[in-house]
């Protein structure tokens, strides 16, 4: 499957986060600000943009920006939306539908809560299976479905709370090297286990943050990418798969559709897990990251617990994972997938300061949306890998 390999490249990225977890702006203004940063990063201007992606309203965004794109994508698959946008954008660029695509995300749940703004609620009408068959049982979202996946993983494979906690500990160690991370102080397995039990077996420190945040990427053709300001980061492979929308419909709670999205993306890129220098694996919860390690083939199904135990995903380990500090310690505004891409690109360009990996060439950004529902995998690489 050659597919999209090397046809398009990410040429600009930006993200806005704060150690306080709060940002001073929101909505379209914040989206526009982060788009400007990403375009500046690429050495492009708004006039160059002929494709837009937004997880809710690509048309509203284009109107706000005053542009007239020939490629538009409002796909929403939850947290993996931005990996899906990147896949679609690469396909559209390869097919000649457009040349410069921007995807953007901004969300400010933390300052919204401070300001007393109402939370988004699910539509309680008919024809919503979540309302009919799950919410009457007091299902706490988003934690409870992930907790049930963890319970099942423990029962089938003997995975322990200590092993899940190690993921939070290793990720926090990366956050300690990132001055923009929300939480940087080192934690121990005991700290995780002593934190309040939210939905068993997940403790508070097994759960991602709730912060404000925004991010954007700019993608263009490989040919144009080589004329721009920064080294191109090529899309070597992309794959997406979803198999359910509500947790009671997930075929197997210990196996995500990442098995398929990952295999397709790796095949397109012509790589195996041993070629991956950096895994940016969506960590809404510790169990989420553990399932990615298994489903992408870094270890066998059921062996994620023993695999992470020695800290190999932490700084200095053999498989760096979530080097920005992840959704667990860096930022998590609700749909975190944009930040996976931003960090992967910055690492491949060597811009990560204290946490910079030594000459990484291949990074994987693996997004997870809704309740382990939609997985989307991007394989990104430097010029040497194209």
């Amino acid at each position: 499957m050659a597919g999209l390999r090397g046809a398009a490249a990410i040429v600009g990225v930006a993200d806005e986060v704060s150690p306080t977890g709060e940002l001073g702006s929101s909505g379209r203004a914040l989206e526009a600000a982060v788009i400007k940063q990403a375009l500046d990063d690429a050495g492009l201007t708004l006039a160059d943009v002929d494709g837009v992606c937004h997880s809710a309203s690509s048309m509203g965004l284009a109107e706000y920006l005053g542009i007239h794109p020939t490629f538009t994508d409002s796909t929403n698959t939850g947290g993996s939306s931005f990996e899906v946008h990147a896949e679609h954008a690469a396909a559209a660029i390869a097919a000649g539908l457009c040349e410069v695509v921007v995807s953007v995300y901004a969300s400010t749940p933390r300052s919204d809560r401070r300001d007393g703004k109402p939370r988004r609620r699910p539509d309680l009408g008919v024809n919503n299976p979540l309302v009919d068959w799950e919410l009457p049982y007091g299902l706490r979202l988003p934690m409870a479905p992930y907790a049930m996946a963890a319970t099942r993983h423990m029962a089938e494979f003997g995975t322990t709370s200590e092993q899940l906690a190690q993921i939070a500990v290793s990720t926090r160690a990366w956050a300690g090297l990132n001055e923009r991370a929300r939480y940087r102080q080192a934690i121990t397995i005991d700290d995780v286990l002593a934190s309040p039990m939210e939905c068993s077996p997940l403790h508070l420190l097994d759960c991602c943050l709730v912060t404000d945040g925004a991010g954007a990427f700019v993608m263009t053709s490989a040919a144009r990418a080589r004329t721009l300001a920064k080294p191109p980061v090529y899309v070597l492979g992309a794959g997406t798969c979803h198999d359910h929308s509500i947790i009671s419909q997930m075929p197997d709670l210990t196996t995500t559709p990442g098995v398929i999205s990952g295999a397709n993306a790796f095949a397109m890129a012509g790589i195996t897990p041993s070629d991956v220098d950096l895994l940016m694996g969506y960590d809404s919860f510790t169990i989420t990251a553990l399932l990615h390690l298994e489903d992408l083939g870094f270890c066998a199904k059921g062996e994620g617990g023993p695999f992470v135990e020695d800290g190999k995903t932490a700084p200095g380990g053999s498989l760096p994972m979530n080097t920005n500090g992840g959704g667990l310690s860096y930022t998590h505004p609700g749909m975190y997938g944009m930040f996976l891409i931003v960090e992967a690109v910055k690492q491949l360009r060597g811009e990560c300061g204290e946490r910079q990996l030594e000459s990484p060439e291949i990074a994987v950004a693996h997004g997870s949306g809704i309740v382990l529902s939609c997985m989307s995998t991007l394989v990104l690489g430097t010029e040497a890998t194209r």
Partner: protein, 147 residues
């Protein structure tokens, strides 16, 4: 963890009746658990809908379920999802695999939350809703109920 809850707060969000699920809810008025079976596939499916999710067939029969199964997975929720739920006490949300092979969500009642286990045999029990329907829940299966 205790949460102060006004006395008139509804305990549960009551489910609406979506198209295709009317026979399911009608049977619950008599505390009967029925499942939709696709007549072409000769297989049950859940949740109820207008077409079979295996073949898109519309010939669907409603057949009684045994009402017994095992816990596929669960979580103990220490903080309620909605203000009135469980009156602030910890409660279990589980996925139950019925003998017929379909999986549905329910609370596990009739035992302390911490006694719940994956693989635990359970049988259906009912909680009255405000409109005469009943909501299926599950409780540990007693020996005399085991098939």
């Amino acid at each position: 963890m205790s949460t102060k809850v006004p006395a008139d707060t509804p305990l549960r969000m009551e489910p609406p009746i979506s198209p295709g699920a009317e026979p399911f809810w009608e049977a619950t008025r008599e505390c009967r658990l029925v499942l939709p079976w696709c007549l072409a596939c000769e297989r049950p499916f859940f949740y109820p809908r207008e077409v079979c999710p295996l073949c898109l067939g519309t010939a669907i029969a409603w057949r009684p379920a045994t009402g017994t199964g095992v816990v596929y997975s669960f979580t103990i929720e220490n903080r309620p999802a909605t203000a009135g739920f469980s009156m602030g006490k910890p409660y279990v949300v589980a996925l139950v695999e019925l003998d017929e092979g379909v999986r549905l969500m329910g609370n596990i009642v009739g035992c302390p939350p911490e006694k719940t286990e994956v693989g635990m045999p359970v049988s259906v029990t009912w909680e009255a809703l405000s409109d005469g329907r009943h909501l299926p829940l599950f409780e540990p299966r007693r020996e005399e109920n085991a098939r």
